[in-house]
Symmetry: C2
Subunit: 372 residues, 2 copies
């Protein structure tokens, strides 16, 4: 584990140049479904300054395909900022002038934290298809290790969208003494059955690729076509029908013939998303995380009042009107489960599930207020 100082914003619009760091923890790290990891490393970034009381830290867990790189750029020529640049920075929704923000690549991920691409110290070879099954409980427990290693006993907040929101809720349920407030955007108390069906399709796309080989493939020889298709299946559920119509309509690719495999502009967009995903994601990681998402189910514990206990965190649930994956009814259910500690914000948008990634003044104002 490193203890470099957090990176400092270099301009007022962005946290500026940032660098990831690794925190390593001696094992074994026990897993909820059995077994253990002999060692654990988490890759993370931080933005803003931790105050003297270590009381202003905000953890931002990521969704399925995100990572620790939440905001800023890795070099002056970096073409793309972090995935939540619109919301995290000086004066933004999660204001790095006030808060010390922590982004962390998930356990089981493939962007630096211990996952299928990591070397299993017991064998000296990458885990690959031998990587164990995870739960969101495991993922959140690993995040807590990181938070404590930074000297933080209690987070100001955990703020997550989609699968990141599920993790926020698990912080409230499993670690209520360690967090003041949680925000779950475009999320749910459990993976709904139709979202489970879409994840199943994505997994089937990967496993139907002959290069899948049960996850036992060499680097560069993985199931690229299946992984791309899995991502395309996901993307088709991230946009609303109205957003598909607004962004692509029925426009065709210039010059494409009627039987060409990429004839429509929406087809070209999906292919691009699939291809880009293959360049930055690992198929075993997708499978492991996808199954962890599907088994996320806080509904029985929520019905038993776990989110409404005295002293547990305040909960802000945000629903987006056209989110077909985790519709506003899920946000209302989250807020209701937190009783007097819960609040629900519903945002009108035509953007669908991906709305949680898009700038929105009302959202910014409400979440800023909730975190203050």
């Amino acid at each position: 584990m490193t203890d470099d100082p957090p990176s400092v914003p270099t301009d007022t619009a962005s946290v500026g140049l940032v660098s990831p760091r690794d925190a390593s923890f001696p094992g074994p790290f026990p897993l909820e479904l059995g077994g253990e990891l002999p060692a654990l490393t988490l890759r993370y970034e931080t933005y803003g300054v931790l105050d003297a009381e270590r009381s202003n830290a905000v953890l931002v867990p990521h969704a399925l395909s995100g990572d620790h790189h939440v905001a800023g750029r890795h070099s002056p020529s970096d073409p793309k900022p972090g995935w939540w640049e619109a919301f995290v920075g000086p004066g933004k929704m999660i204001d790095t002038n006030r808060h010390f923000v922590i982004g962390v690549n998930t356990l089981g991920g493939c962007r630096g934290s211990t996952g299928p691409l990591s070397v299993d110290p017991r064998t000296g070879a990458p885990y690959g298809g031998t990587f164990p099954e995870l739960t969101f409980g495991d993922i959140v427990r690993a995040q807590r290790l990181l938070v404590e290693s930074l000297g933080i006993r209690r987070l100001r907040a955990v703020v997550g969208g989609s699968k990141g929101g599920m993790q926020s809720l698990l912080w409230a349920a499993d670690h209520p003494e360690a967090v003041d407030r949680v925000v779950a955007l475009a999320s749910a108390l459990s993976q709904p059955p139709h979202a489970l069906a879409l994840n199943a399709l994505a997994r089937f796309a990967v496993s139907a690729d002959p290069r899948w080989r049960g996850g036992h493939y060499l680097s560069g020889e993985g199931p690229d076509a299946g992984l791309a298709l899995a991502r395309m299946i996901g993307h088709a559920s991230y946009l609303s029908p109205a957003a598909f119509a607004r962004k692509f309509g029925r426009l065709t690719v210039p010059g494409a013939g009627p039987a060409d495999p990429v004839h429509w502009q929406v087809e070209s967009y999906l292919r691009h998303q699939g291809d880009a995903f293959v360049r930055r994601f690992d198929a075993v990681s997708l499978m492991v995380i996808s199954r962890a998402v599907d088994r996320f189910d806080l509904s029985a514990r929520a019905a038993a009042g776990v989110l409404a206990r005295p002293g547990s965190p305040a909960v802000l649930a945000v629903g987006f009107s056209t989110d077909g994956l985790y519709p506003p009814s899920e946000a209302r259910a989250i807020a209701a489960a937190a009783g007097s500690r819960g609040a629900c914000l519903e945002i009108e948008t035509d953007a669908g599930h991906d709305a949680f990634l898009l700038p929105n003044p009302r959202l910014t104002e409400q979440v800023r207020g909730f975190l203050a």
Copy 2:
């Protein structure tokens, strides 16, 4: 072409035992996007009795995966009736005591009509991957040949759901002198962009299967895994989220381990649908029809009044409240495009797009009235 008498209902609840027949037409059959078919055969079934004036015929075009077998059974031990048994039969929505009903496998299909599995008389080998691109205009023109060959100059109605509804609308637009009334259930004036995206995913699933080989595969060596996945992608859009929750919830397959490829009951359902589809469908056929669906676009002609011309058919558009593929707004647009000749029926249901296949007393009553 045969001229066997139509089959006769054997009981009051069903049209009973039925047999398909083939109608063959000398070519060439010209195609809208260019080229031609040297010969044309359509497989069809009929139920009920054609009246002396030949004025009581109702054509039922099918959706993506249906066929000519709309109602009844092929043998006393046939485990499954036709795909619209709930709606077609004595006393039913399309009442075979009153109407002479025609089911026909689509041009380009794989259930007996000329399609990729047919032998190209020019080569003596199946068309396979050389089968030409089709439009719904071609498909409807072929249907008209069949109707005329049965001695019918004017249909009482064309009644179709989903892609069958699009064909109903093309009958009204392209052949208004040949049909009195059209019913389009769970349909649209054009393939909406997000439905187009889902079809693109299905096609990508097929073409990513190494056994696809551009459609040039031998019988029994086709892209089964890709075709199954394509069907699963479709099915995930045919049910509403509420229907997924009601039918499967978060139930698991008894005895399934956490990493098993079929862990959830909804996963098992989707796999079953995929596998069943592979047994009765051809991948080239799916690709050709899927592209024909995607290029279906009557919207500009509808805006120019093609469905509202004097003397054109009355149009009943039926929308289902939770249909995510062709929502009720599409049905309203269809009815509006038909002006004073149009009517819209909106049905409350949690079933999603598949609602057009499920018994519904209000639907039955309204369509019966419209056809009378």
